[in-house]
């Protein structure tokens, strides 16, 4: 299902995705130096939007400083099933993403951009191809856009898995001894960032006047709102927007899972007087991650929802690293046991065994979800131990893959 995209104040303000409309809103693309781009990104405190929130200026400077052939990779794979913001950008503002990538590529002296697109949603590459066809093919340097199909597996969109795919190897995570910026595609310096990050950069550089530079956390976030039924709704909000402008009172009164399946739960009501900001959420021990917001459905039990997600995550292992291959199913089984009134200790023990042991962040993210569920839903788990459930009805929400 394609996401429903709400209009937004900045990235999503174009009424249509055509190049013509895009150019009427934004300045034309020019070649600018990597240091200029990095300075702009630094002034706007631009952080990656793929979940790790790494400062973009640092990453760009690291790649620019190295010699030899470089690569630019736009990660559009969006492996998280509850996230649709990158798809939303492709639908409504593809040229922002492409402009951002082209700005970086030109600054780094690279004439080819790799687009990591999801194999599962062919329409995304089709839309991108259409947008690329609109762009002028001028300039002495022939600019190339190369598509790479990323598998539908959860871990396949991870940075090292994408780098492996672009390098011509299997689309699975590997141990990253050295950051991708230093050794990425084929061992060469690679700037790999999320699609939204590139779009944010483009909007920053090509329309600086419209940004709100005075806040501690300037800029906007794209949020993927997951409701009980229907498509994912993608909205764009300025940092510091109150949560009551994003979710309704009912949703705010129930627990919300922030950051996606590798994210953290916040208790019901915790977001009522808070804003969409990293600082506010850090107070709650949570974070935005890649902007995924999953409010609990009415009458649903958060423990059972966590259980379902864990079952899905355990099955998404790349099956390469022992602790993930063996440990995650065991952890999911132990949590399932707990959800049906069993012991807590096995869950804690397995969480400790799995954490930090694997080539990618899949085990860590899964453990993060488990720990946050244990912390937030102590009462519910206690109730389960006594054979009752605080959810009025057990809604078996489909965990879409």
């Amino acid at each position: 299902m394609r996401p429903v995209v709400g209009p937004g104040p900045w990235l999503l303000r174009s009424p249509d995705p055509s190049l013509e409309t895009h150019r009427s809103t934004y300045r034309p693309l020019t070649t600018t130096s990597a240091e200029n781009l990095a300075s702009s990104a630094e002034a706007a405190a631009l952080r990656g939007r793929g979940g790790a929130a790494f400062p973009f200026a640092t990453k760009l400077r690291a790649v620019a400083a190295r010699r030899g052939r470089k690569h630019v990779v736009v990660n559009l794979s969006e492996g998280e099933p509850a996230s649709a913001k990158d798809a939303a950008l492709v639908l409504t503002a593809p040229h922002l993403v492409l402009d951002g990538a082209e700005l970086v590529a030109r600054a780094l002296g690279v004439s080819e951009v790799h687009l990591a697109v999801p194999d599962e949603h062919r329409w995304i590459s089709e839309h991108l191809e259409r947008a690329i066809a609109e762009r002028p093919r001028t300039g002495r340097r022939r600019f190339r856009w190369r598509f790479h199909e990323v598998a539908a597996r959860f871990v396949s969109g991870e940075a090292s898995a994408v780098t492996e795919l672009v390098s011509g190897r299997a689309n699975l995570p590997v141990t990253s001894w050295v950051p991708t910026a230093i050794e990425g595609v084929r061992g060469q310096p690679t700037l790999l960032s999320n699609a939204e990050t590139f779009a944010q950069l483009a909007a920053l550089v090509l329309d600086p006047g419209s940004a709100r530079p005075t806040d501690d956390e300037p800029g906007t976030r794209l949020l993927s709102l997951n409701y009980a039924s229907g498509p994912i709704r993608v909205v764009e909000v300025w940092h510091g927007t109150p949560w009551c402008a994003v979710l309704d009172a009912e949703q705010l009164s129930r627990p919300v899972l922030l950051g996606g399946y590798h994210g953290t739960w916040v208790a019901g009501g915790a977001l009522r007087n808070r804003t969409v900001s990293a600082a506010d959420l850090a107070d709650l021990g949570s974070g935005l991650g890649a902007g995924v917001v999953i409010p609990l459905d009415e009458g649903e039990c958060p423990v059972h929802r966590t259980n379902l997600i864990l079952g899905y995550l355990a099955g998404q292992s790349a099956r390469r690293c022992g602790p993930c291959l063996r440990g995650l199913p065991a952890l999911a089984a132990a949590f399932d046991d707990l959800a049906h009134g069993g012991e807590l200790d096995p869950v804690l023990e397995l969480a400790g065994l799995v954490e930090g042991r694997g080539a990618c962040a899949h085990p860590d993210g899964t453990v993060r979800l488990v720990r946050s569920a244990l912390k937030t839903f102590g009462t519910e788990i206690e109730a389960h131990a006594h054979g009752t459930c605080t959810g009025r009805a057990l809604i078996t929400a489909a965990v879409t893959a």
Binding site: T175, R320, C321, G322, C324, R326, G327, L353, R357, A359
Partner: protein, 72 residues
């Protein structure tokens, strides 16, 4: 990567996709490497200078070359 021999500590890192739970590292360095219930290495801490040689042996003897020693 090899560890410094001038009395500094080093760190053991596991290349998880290569590790096949053969357990040789645990045989050669039980003070620092334990095994989880599925046979995969649990690194218990940093390598003190006196165990550097043993840690190097553990890394050299891994049949899958999945163990590396990194100097801090």
């Amino acid at each position: 990567m090899t560890a410094a021999t001038n009395g500094r500590r080093s760190r053991i890192r596991v290349d998880w996709p290569s590790c096949q739970a053969r357990g040789l590292c645990h045989e050669l360095l039980p003070e620092l490497i334990d095994l989880d219930p599925w046979g995969y290495p649990l690194v218990l801490g940093e390598v003190p200078p006196e165990l550097t040689a043993a840690a190097r042996a553990a890394a050299a003897n891994c049949p899958k070359r999945a163990l590396r020693l990194e100097s801090r």
